[in-house]
Symmetry: C2
Subunit: 424 residues, 2 copies
């Protein structure tokens, strides 16, 4: 963990603000998205749990301060301030797993200007990445219609981003990850058996399958498409018996191959052997396989890269200084200053109808309203931390609550409209 996961300009601003006496002004920063990625109907708040840990541990080490001083990025007064830095303000916002829409005040950071401004990069990095992955993953979960999903994209993204991506995909409802660090750090179930290399290593496919079954038992998954899939399935059942847990197909026309494989497995007396498919699957490819006899999907590249939207478009803006609302004015971005309060309004049936965001006030109370903001840190200390499993269930409930159109994969309006109100 390093406090240098920070942009140069944040420390330049701290330096100048310490010098002119404005560094201690009480500020409110807000994280929000001006728009959703093209084609999306909702965003998913993800990364909050990770972020809270990183903010609580955000310290400038002596060697880091020496670097900053040596490069004259900060002066001596600022170096001393950095040495004492810990965030002592308050952060509240949407729960991890909550949905968001354009204008939703996802995170509100309150404290002195200096202590808040240095967190901009860390906050946006974590939330932009994890929320992008979670939103893509949630669409895949919808497309999979109850069938299980394995996240196997670690090889397609930065090695540490891979761990965060696995966490975000699990949050969104994926059942497993291939990534062991994600398993160890976040308690996510991991899965994996063998690659084509394992079959190629052996003298022939039956020898490879026999060795795998000898070690892992028939409760394993045999990858059957290294040479010829039909023969691969015959070899698999011949070696493992009809109690084989699953086969995996990673290439070819998955729709046709799933059908042929199911028929073949059934004819070999293995009706309970599952079929797992993988290979460049995204939410559209998964949806297209809905009618095929597939039991589980493996998704890699598309989930870890946000399926076309690799960043969530979240920004971190100063909205209030010493109780005065502030807003950048040079173009019409419809941004409103001041601290916001947000509720989501529902029908008695539980379907969300509207999100009300009030600047410098509180929404009028109506039955079936749900407050969207909760405390994440108070006086710099983490509070009320949900488990990843709880956040996962929260997202599942949120997705049930939006109008059914919101779950369509096609482009459309945000699933829930946001009404912005300025109280004064």
């Amino acid at each position: 963990m390093t406090a240098l996961l920070t942009d140069h300009y944040e420390l330049t601003m701290v330096n100048a603000a310490l010098a002119d006496g404005t560094a201690g002004r009480r500020c409110v920063f807000e994280v929000f998205a001006r728009r959703l990625p093209t084609g999306r109907r909702y965003g998913v708040v993800a990364g909050v749990g990770r972020l809270v840990d990183r903010i609580a541990g955000f310290r400038f080490r002596p060697d880091e301060i020496a670097y900053l001083s040596g490069r004259r990025i900060v002066d001596a007064d600022t170096a001393r301030w950095l040495a004492d830095y810990r965030f002592t303000g308050d952060i509240d916002g949407y729960a991890e797993g909550e949905l968001f829409f354009p204008g939703s005040p996802i995170l509100t950071v309150t404290g002195t200007f200096a202590e808040c401004v240095v967190l901009e990069t860390l906050i946006l990095s974590v939330l932009n990445h994890d929320s992008a992955v979670a939103a893509a993953a949630a669409r895949m979960v919808t497309a999979a219609r109850g069938r299980g999903l394995i996240e196997m994209g670690a090889r397609r993204t930065h090695e540490e981003a891979a761990v965060a991506a696995a966490r975000a995909a699990y949050l969104a409802g994926f059942a497993y990850t291939s990534n062991l660090a994600a398993g160890a750090r976040h308690g996510i179930p991991t899965a994996g058996t063998a690659a084509h290399a394992y079959t190629l290593l052996h003298d022939d496919e039956p020898a490879a399958f026999a060795a795998q079954v000898a070690t892992l038992g028939s409760e394993t998954t045999l990858l059957v498409d290294t040479y010829d899939i039909t023969q691969g399935i015959r070899n698999a059942i011949s070696v493992a018996g009809p109690g084989l847990r699953a086969i995996r197909i990673d290439s070819g026309d998955l729709s046709v191959l799933a059908h042929q494989s199911r028929e073949l497995l059934d004819s070999l007396g293995a009706p309970d052997t599952k079929i797992i498919v993988s290979g460049d699957l995204d939410e559209y490819a998964i949806a297209a396989l809905a009618a095929e006899p597939v039991d589980m999907y493996g998704a890699g590249t598309s989930v870890v890269t946000g399926s076309g939207a690799p960043t969530a478009g979240l920004v971190y803006k100063l909205v209030e200084v010493d109780g005065r609302p502030v807003v950048k004015r040079s173009e019409n971005k419809a941004t409103v200053g001041g601290r916001k309060a947000a509720v989501r309004r529902h029908k008695p049936t539980g379907t969300a109808t509207e999100e009300i965001v009030v600047s410098r006030g509180v929404p009028d109370h109506q039955p079936n309203d749900r407050l969207l903001q909760r405390a994440h840190l108070v006086g710099g200390e983490p509070v009320g931390r949900p488990t990843l499993a709880e956040s996962r269930e929260h997202l599942r409930q949120c997705l049930i609550s939006i109008p059914w159109e919101g779950l369509k994969l096609s482009a459309g309006d945000p699933a829930v409209p946001v009404t912005a109100i300025t109280a004064q």
Copy 2:
């Protein structure tokens, strides 16, 4: 650094291969791309320097082995093997900063099956991420036509991916990064002055500018688009004088605003004050500003997310076992087994004409050929490590060497065709 940045199936394969005696077979794995991302004419090898460090330090810690054993991912024999693990094989491949094309054997990993297979995820994570960023960044450098570029995308990607992205962008020719960790770890020049929040913090814009100039001097960049750009520029010169180094514009029609700003700065007697523009710039937007009076570009989201291609499409395939070429056969992927040797052929003028990739043999020697592979690790030890500055210059020379069509931003064939030859 953790050896758990690894996929579950790698350890399952090691476990099964140790049990059946195949784990020690001499293997050759190869990293290559089947195709370039849509619209691209070349790829850029990036991340090699980072990767070599991570492979040399790849160890399974006791707590990691305890996790793997406790979850029954590995048995006792495999746990002992992991405890002793260090890579003792050889890795050679293309230099960092080298160009690649479909079928280029970018990296060749030689050793026992078990010691090589556990590196798949780490190798692909590092190379896929860094190469994706470098390729996008290189196109932006071309589009900028000699004007400087600042990478400022840390807020749009995972916090650690941001550091690697800054490194890859610098490799590709960017002049600065906003990311301080990239500066501290990799010696990359950092840049940054102030965000809109800094102006909003103050009672008015002149007060903000005055405080910034008091601290940083007139050798700074003032962000002039918080309220009104024309007034912002007047305030900037009024406060800093005509010796102000630069203004930055982060919103609006940058083409029009650059012109107006240049005229205004000139009329205010500040012809040497530079104009820096930023705000959702990608290679196409940068190219569209070529005729405008812009001095430097800031690029964020598009560079760190690979400008539409967030992963480089590199795969890690077993190509040889105990001297025998192997290849997956279930579909026509035109993949050739066996260890490869590669040269790039050039005209006497230095223009690259062809890349020759020979499986299980060596290319015939011709004048102006350049060998593309060099040793990265020998017996597990890093060798011949270029500096980041050397790799940066290597890429610059490579881009000069390709036919001019290869630098076009439009879609087209790979800049240099690859001829695959099987020697036997």
